[in-house]
Amino acid sequence: MRDALDLRYLLTAAFAGLLFGAGLYVSQMVDPLKVLHFLDFSAIPSGGWDPSLAFVMGGGLLVMFVAVRIGKGRTAPLFDSRFHEPEFNRIDTPLVAGAAIFGIGWGMSGICPGPAISLIGFWPDNLAIYLVALFVGSYAGAFIIPSGRDKRLAVAR
C-alpha cells in the first residue's frame, strides 16, 4: 500500500462498502430465514424451497468476473501498487476443514460474516453474542493457522 491514509484509497473502500452493504440488504441476505429457506433443500419436493439467493450469487459473480478480466489487463489497481491476490494455490486440509466448519455455522444461523456485520444497524437480539463469538473464533483460528502470505507459503513447504 502506498499510503494507508490516502483519501482516494479510503473513499474507494467506503464506496465499495456502501454498495456491498446495500446489496446485502436489497438481496435480503441480511434476513437469516431467507438464507435458511435457500439452504433448505429438503423443501424442494414440497415446493417450499426459495432459490432466490442463487440470483444473488449469479449477479455478484457476473460483475466481479468482468472486473477481474479488466484487472488482468492492468499492472496495478488505481490506488495501490499491486493487486493483493492470494498466491497460495494448494488445496489443503485447513481449507477443506475450515469451509466445512464454516458451513455448520452458516447452516445453524443463516448468517455469514457480511450479513452479520451489516445487521449492526438493525441490532436484532443476540447479534452481539454472535459477533463476539465470530471475533473469538476468528482469532482462535489465527493461532492455529498462521496468516500472511509468507507464513502460509512456509507452512506449505
Partner: protein
C-alpha cells in the same frame, strides 16, 4: 416456491458485485468480509481501510433499509436472528454463540467466506475457492436438514 424474489436478489447481487469490483480495481483488495473483519486486531496499517469498509457496509445496509423499507430484513417486521430448534435443548444465545465461533474459526483457517471465496474467488477462477464453496454449501445444506432449524 414461497417468497421467490429473483429481481431483488439479482439487483442485490449486482450491487455486491459492484462493491467488490470497485475494491478490486481501485485498491487491489478482495472484498472478503471474514478476512477484512478477521484482521482488525493486529496494529497493521491496513486497519484503517478495513474499519472504513466495515462502517460503510453497516451504513449501506441501514441506509438502503431507510430508502427501501419493507424488503430485506423479513419485510416490515423487526430484524431478528434465528431461534435454536427446541428439540436440541440448547438456548438460543448459546446456539448463536456456537454458530459464531464455528463461522469465525472456519473462515479463518479456510481463508474466506461466502464473499471472499463465493464471489471474488470464483470470479478469479481460484481452485481453492471452488473447493471451499462446494464444501461450505454442501455442509450448510446438510446442517439445515439435520438441525431442522426451519
Amino acid at each position: 416456491m414461497e417468497n421467490f424474489t429473483p429481481v431483488s436478489a439479482l439487483a442485490g447481487g449486482l450491487l455486491i458485485g459492484l462493491g467488490s469490483a470497485i475494491l478490486w480495481l481501485g485498491n487491489g483488495r478482495i472484498a472478503g468480509i471474514s478476512g477484512i473483519f478477521g484482521q482488525l486486531l493486529p496494529p497493521a496499517r491496513t486497519v484503517v481501510w478495513r474499519l472504513v469498509f466495515l462502517a460503510a457496509l453497516v451504513f449501506g445496509a441501514w441506509g438502503s433499509a431507510q430508502l427501501l423499507p419493507g424488503i430485506g430484513v423479513g419485510g416490515n417486521a423487526p430484524a431478528h436472528l434465528v431461534e435454536a430448534p427446541t428439540s436440541w435443548g440448547i438456548s438460543t444465545p448459546v446456539w448463536l454463540a456456537i454458530a459464531g465461533l464455528l463461522t469465525g474459526f472456519g473462515t479463518k483457517i479456510g481463508n474466506g467466506c461466502t464473499s471472499g471465496h463465493g464471489i471474488c474467488g470464483l470470479a478469479r477462477l481460484s481452485k481453492r475457492s471452488f473447493v471451499a464453496v462446494a464444501v461450505f454449501f454442501v455442509v450448510a445444506i446438510a446442517t439445515v436438514t439435520i438441525t431442522g432449524i426451519v
